[in-house]
Amino acid sequence: MTPLVKRLPRELRRNIGKYLGIFLLMCGSIALTSGFLLAAHSIGCLIDDMRDEYTIEDGRVTTSFEATKDQLKAAEDAADDVGGVTLYKNFSIDAIIKKTAGDDGTKRTLRTYAHRTKVDIASYCEGRQPKTDDEVAIDRVFATNNDLDVGDRVELEGRTYTICGIMTQPDSQALFLNNSDFTVNTITYGVAEVTDAGFAALEDAGGAPAYTYSFTFTDRDLPTADRIDAEQDMVEALTDADARVDDLIDADSNQGIGYARDDVDGDSMMWMTLLDIIIVIMAFVFVVLTDATIEEESAIIGTLLASGYRRREIVLHYLALPAIVGVLAALLGTALGVVFFTEPMRGLYYGSYSLPPFQVYWSWEIFVKCAVVPAAALILITLVGLLRKMGKTPLQFLRHEASGKSGTKRGLQLPERMGFVSRFRLRVFLRNLGNFATLFVGIAFASLLLLFGLAILPTMTHYADNLETSLVAQHQYTLKAPLELEGTAEEREQWSALERLQSVDGALLSAVQDASDELDDAADAATASPSAESLSAMQRALASVQDKKDALYARLDGLADALGCDHDEAINLIDKASKIDTDNDDIHPVNTTDNGAAKIAQAEKYAVYQLQYDRGNGNGEEAISVYGISPDSRYWKDLNVGDGRVVFGGGLLDKFGWSEGQKVTLSDKYEGEHYSLEYASKDCAWGSKSDMNIYMSIDDFNELFDNDAAYFNGYVSDEKLDLDARYFAGDTTPDDMRAVGDQFIGMMSKMIGMMVGLAVFIFLLFMYLLTKAVIDHSARSISYMKVFGYRDSEISHLYIRSITLCVAASLVLSLPLIIGSLTAIFRSMLLAYSGNIEIYVPAWSMAVCVGIGFATYLIVALLHMRSIKRVSLAEALKVQE
């Protein structure tokens, strides 16, 4: 160890502000990041463990109506090739929940399941599972956000239940009302479970069940591709067995199961990116400061080298402090993060996701990422900078040629007509050109971070606004199957009768049908008896007819019991229903409620189907909704479709950068079909940059998907429609979208707050260090000017104004660069997420960024000028050598 080591504590003391700032910044960033990463890693491990511990499903299929045993068996048989599958009945009812006391009237939905024991088993945080039909266990996050606790009484579909437990369901870790929703809804949506009897009671109270069957493959480690194939085979088998499949969601695509993990992983990447940026900035600061130190100590270094010091020894000497500061900050930051920040970071997710009780899973990878890599990167970058700087000869150091300037800029001839002041300022600028370039890069880095923090909330708000305004009507209804609003009273009665008959066990109706057929056969046999000699035969035939009639009546009674009416009414219902030609596919069900001519007239049919687009580079698939709409739609205004014209949402074009004439291949994950759609020209773009849909005329849509010509599966309407529950799939309103946006902002606001705080701190420190370096560089010349007799104001005029101008120019000119970088960072960061969030940098945030930057500079300049003024002139001259 060289005696030079004695300089280190003195250097540290002398520049305590600089080193402390860097230390705190690095330590703080690493503490936050390591705390976050450890919390994220632990949550990830917890989620992984849940798969086996709580038997998370491999997927789920939803049918329009309850599937028969044969249909379910057909589905199970279809998966024999992959070792078998088990289907579990997993019905749910989206029940409207109200507090029995003090309800604020907000519509809240509780997706209520019958208590599950074999798949997607709930983890109880508090209380116990329901035991009686008036008990309900509700989701932890929903309970927290709605101030509900064990013992509270709530109404589900108007029926009173007592909360007996607070739990989390492993298939609803993230609370998505619809799997296609962009973000979770933890305030007005939750999940719950009741007993089987409680579920039946809820159904009786008017709750419409969703006929969902969750399944697990016998081989739980089935490769994804095999699993998807098997699932498609199952759907095909169900369809072949006359079941109507509404939805198939593989566990990987189920946001309730995978979103929390994806979110945690995505955020981890964001934190790592942030840490990387900070480390690069820190290394940049170290390189800049070390450069300045080497220039300042050039003669000393030259002397040491001339005295026989090896270059390596000098490099190690100048590397020592950054390395010590970096290593200590990395180690202490990681330790602080693990001990103090893991819990708060966990809270960020436990406030949004329903996960079982938290426990910490240690990870050496995180230690390496947070403690080893930043310290190593810092040392390496500083070392490279030092080696570059130390590449000069001892003589060059002795002659102060370490800055590597060629001298051409200094020796540049300037026209005398420029005047002395202008030429002098230009000389100051040229002499500091390298420093100003550094300053520009540094300001751009710091501004990037600050603007990232300042713009993220406006961006989210902007996105939420776009979501809200992207809806073309007050209600966008989706249907499970086409449902006509128009119809005669007679037709409504007929469909009403059919709906009522189909609401009971299909076996009862089949039995009636069979009995009726048998009676017809018996009657035919009796009528066909040829002669009196066959009297006895005729009597037997009549007796048979009577038996069959009795049997039919008995079956009718059974059906009537199930329907809750007498058998005459049952016959009446059958009679009405039989008038519907169910074999005719062109006939659509008619809504049993008449919404009135005015409402019906303003409602407009549309069709929608979701296809997948491969984002490429392992970034997964984007779900894209393809809409078939009326060419002269009153809702999708100025959207020119028809004659094969395909129009692309602005969000798609912005996110994927598709160019004119480009063909886009979309796939149907259920059918395995591929569709190629062309973005023909710029005229074929519509909507905001949040619009991720593709539009075409409904005729083109039905042709593309090989549907019946009259097919549709939704209505847009400015009026609220009363639609039959069995066909109703969803109603999206601007309020819903606003709630989603608010939820999203609410979820991110804590993290955004942290980022803004961090960004401001880094920005201030960075501006301080950089501007100080530039002013320091001119300090000696400023002292000289004083010796010559210049007044402070004149010196300021010549020097400080040049620097000020450069700082101001850097702050303003770097903005386009920063916004471009932010757009690129945002795009790459969110590529793997659904939707398109356009970076939105409001003018005020740019003004704030420039304002903070300039104010920081002014304070630094003021402080520094004061210290320069205090230096005696003799001392200023003495330090020349």
């Binding site: 005696p3 004695k6 300089r7 003195r10 100590e297 001339a306 050598e881």
Partner: protein
Amino acid sequence: MATKQAYVQVKGLKKHYGDGDARLTVLDGIDTSINRGEICVMLGPSGSGKSTFLNLIGGLEDADAGSILVDGCDLTVLKPTDLGEYRRRELGFVFQFYNLVPDLTIKENIEVTAHLSKKPLNIDDLLRSLGLYEHRNKFPRQVSGGQQQRCAIGRALVKNPGLLLCDEPTGALDYKTSKEILQLMEDVNRAYGCTIIIVTHNAAIARMANRVLRLRDGRIVEDELNDAPVAAAELDW
């Protein structure tokens, strides 16, 4: 005590800067030798090549032609790393400007180079002989220019070098301090037997030298031995 053994031998040494029209020949075939333990003073006007000559002997620059043998080792064939080792082992440098490390004390500044030697001189003894012992814990800014130059000399001497190269060592000092510094050099030459080459504008200093070299336009115009050097204390200018 000066001996008559050739310690530095320079033959046909050439050095130029720049190319084409801007080519400037700084040293144009220097031949000389300096014996071990001698005090050699190099005189000459600005631009005569004195400092370049010193830098070449110090291994700080490469020669274009010729050879420089120091204690039998040809510097012109050494690689930069070997030149570094040569400086570490053999040389002490004293510059016009002291180039002390500002945040090390006087003693610590000397320790910096003591560290480079396997057999450094006793620092406290050296400090006493430099008249800096009382100031050993002061920082350079707290002592006078002469004391700083003493410290710089101490820094060069502490590793007990065979060759002490001094580039205008009194150039920044007043008369009295300059004489003190020259006396000090004389003392260390006697005490430690090191060879000293002093580059200066001051012709009066030549009187204390065993050998005087005069350079003009890159050539040695005078290379004379002084059999009766005057004590530094008796110098006057």
